[in-house]
């Protein structure tokens, strides 16, 4: 059973209720969207790191040396 707690701050009444089908579906949609966004973010970061490594290799520099120059 998947439940949530709702408190009405104007009355102090607290209810523990089951999530509706719609809420469960929304959560699943959120999860799928989040995973897709994370995958895209990771792919972009990996591509950026690969390009950086390629450039450093072409220039004959180490990561530390590049940081020293740019720092």
């Amino acid at each position: 059973m998947t439940t949530k707690i709702i408190v009405d701050c104007s009355t102090g009444v607290v209810e523990e209720v089951e999530l509706t089908e719609e809420e469960l579906a929304q959560r699943e949609a959120d999860r799928i969207a989040f995973e897709a966004a994370e995958a895209a973010r990771e792919a972009e970061a990996a591509e950026k790191a690969a390009r950086r490594a390629e450039i450093l290799e072409r220039l004959g520099l180490t990561e530390d040396e590049a940081k020293l120059i740019l720092g």
Partner: protein, 168 residues
């Protein structure tokens, strides 16, 4: 503590845990709100988010994070407010989170500040400082705390308390 903190409501998860804490019909009579969360997940899914007025859009945040061995900073467009206790953390320990929401009933975009720490007897414990923005001018009348990317269960004894900061 100054007599400016007024407890609006406090709720605690019972046996079986809960997926969210929802504060509704928040009165507009205070200047600011403070939400205190003491929570632990039943699994390794620990990322939680805040949702104002049941609206999950137009959030952004910047945060710094440390875990005992590394530090980082990041900037994202989401409503994430940190990590609650992990099921791998020391048994019966709960992460502590505070969310400060100034001028929640005003007519400008809503900013919020978060500090959060996990508690565990181990080498890795995450802690975060975060500046968040909900780009919406509506007065905040409801707040929900729930898992960010998937349904999480906050275990029994997890507690959320909402305070109002008195104008006087």
């Amino acid at each position: 503590m100054a007599n400016t903190y007024v407890k609006i409501a406090s709720v605690t998860a019972g046996a079986g845990g809960v997926t969210s804490f929802d504060f509704t019909n928040i009165p507009s009579t205070y200047s600011d709100l403070v939400l205190k969360l003491s929570a632990r997940s039943s699994s390794t899914a620990v990322d939680v988010r805040i949702v104002f007025n049941a609206n999950t859009s137009n959030y952004s945040r910047r945060n710094i994070m440390g875990n005992g061995s590394a530090a980082s900073s990041s900037s994202f467009a989401d409503a994430w407010i940190g990590q609650i206790g992990d099921s791998n953390n020391t048994a019966s320990t709960f992460a502590s989170t505070e969310v400060y929401i100034p001028n929640y009933a005003g007519s400008t975009n809503k900013s919020y500040a978060v500090d959060q720490v996990q508690e565990t007897n181990g080498t890795t414990a995450y802690m975060n400082l975060l500046a968040g923005l909900w780009s919406n001018t509506a007065a905040i009348t409801s707040i929900k705390i729930e898992g960010r990317d998937t349904t999480i269960t906050m275990v029994q004894h997890s507690t959320a308390t909402l305070y109002g900061i008195s104008r006087t």
